[in-house]
């Protein structure tokens, strides 16, 4: 196991090799690795910029090529620092290019329970994994334009429906301020920070504890939930379905238009 980080974390103990990259130099490091696997010339000064040495990287590249099945795990340290989604894109390209030599995949490390399920469901129903807009009547994908933090900070949205998340505790202050300004609706097993600034809060049964269903593991394996308790509250699924049913009774916002996605399986 090779660990790449800007500082020595607790995971160093579990790692065989630790590569300490200079903060904000992820994109440079990945690009150098992409060149090195293809034996393209790289200068010592270019490598020195990343805080690592030629020997370290040559060793790393030969280990990657010698592997029979390599996995690159990446987290928010890569995708949320300088370069953002360009860093993720570079890493995914490196993983794709490694397949010229051996089997390699890249996988995001997930914090929350069923966030992988959200990706999978949105992908299967709309064709896109996140950052989607239906405002033209068909799904469009554009992170940065339709992603939540950006939409809230710019103040684009005039009503927010929050389920299984607590942006009031985690998002930047301008985004939270906008959530407090607009009607916000929260579905959560607890009264959260977001519930306190919302107009409507509905308590629901916690998934996996008292609500049944399916959750996706980080590597996209669907697993059934086996709830242990009976909840006095309805499940998320039931509440959202009832909201959908209530909305279907109202006239369509686009006139006599059939629903775009014909099958909500």
């Amino acid at each position: 196991m090779v660990l790449v980080d800007i500082r020595e974390t607790k995971s160093v103990k579990a790692a065989d090799i630790f590569l300490q990259v200079r903060p904000g130099k992820d994109f440079e490091l990945i690009t150098i690795l992409r060149a090195m696997i293809k034996d393209q010339p790289i200068s010592e000064t270019q490598i020195a910029e990343t805080g690592l040495t030629m020997e370290q990287l040559q060793d790393f590249v030969s280990r990657m090529k010698a592997a029979r099945f390599g996995v690159m795990f990446f987290g928010m340290g890569l995708s949320m620092t300088r370069g953002k989604h360009m860093n993720s894109a570079a890493l995914l390209t490196l993983a794709a290019e490694m397949n010229a030599f051996t089997k390699f995949v890249a996988m995001p490390m997930r914090g929350h329970g069923n966030v992988t399920g959200a990706d999978v469901i949105m992908r299967s129903q709309t064709g896109y994994p996140f950052g989607i807009s239906f405002n033209r009547g068909y799904p469009r994908y554009n992170p940065g334009e339709f992603s939540t933090v950006d939409v809230l900070v710019r103040g684009d949205t005039d009503c927010a429906f929050i389920i299984g998340a607590d942006p009031g505790a985690t998002m930047p202050q301008p985004a939270i301020d906008h959530l407090a300004r607009i009607p916000t609706i929260v579905l959560d097993p607890h009264v959260t920070h977001t519930s306190r600034l919302s107009r409507v809060h509905i308590t629901t049964a916690p998934a996996g504890i008292s609500a049944p269903g399916t959750a996706y593991r980080m590597d996209e394996i669907p697993l059934p939930l086996h709830p242990a308790l009976e909840s006095p509250y309805p499940s998320d699924e039931e509440v959202v379905r009832r909201i959908n049913e209530t909305l279907m009774k109202k006239p369509d916002w686009m006139g006599e238009r059939p629903q775009i996605l014909q099958t909500q399986i």
Binding site: T126, R136, C159, Y216
Partner: protein, 115 residues
């Protein structure tokens, strides 16, 4: 008190989604979560079947679920650009309903992935 044992329970605290947890539970709470990690134990043992919170709140005041669903639908219906966000700590079945909701509303749809 009768203890119910559930083998192969699934933990949804983090992205690992361990599915080999053994739960020992009575009517109101889970007493033991064997094979779960520190985070998983806290997740299973801290949730109870008690009615700790009101069914629903509208403008901070207690309300019934029916009233809250009506109010939520009206806010969403009246909005020009509603946003459906989150979907991490919930089931795939609920996520499908959320996609349908965003589709019906012509809304924005996004998850934790964009963070």
């Amino acid at each position: 008190m009768e203890m119910k044992v559930i083998d192969h329970a699934t933990c949804t605290f983090c992205g690992c989604v361990c599915d080999d947890i053994q739960l020992h539970a009575d009517e109101t709470r889970i007493h033991q979560a064997k094979k779960a990690c520190v985070l998983g134990k806290a997740w299973f043992l801290n949730h109870t079947a008690e009615r700790k919170y009101p069914d629903a709140l509208i403008d901070g005041k207690e309300a019934t679920v029916d009233e809250a669903i009506e109010a939520a639908s009206e806010y969403l219906y009246q909005a020009d650009m509603p946003l459906v966000y989150g979907m991490s700590n919930t089931t795939c079945e609920a996520q499908r309903q959320c996609v349908a909701l965003a589709d019906n509303l012509g809304a924005l749809l996004d998850s934790h992935t964009s963070l």
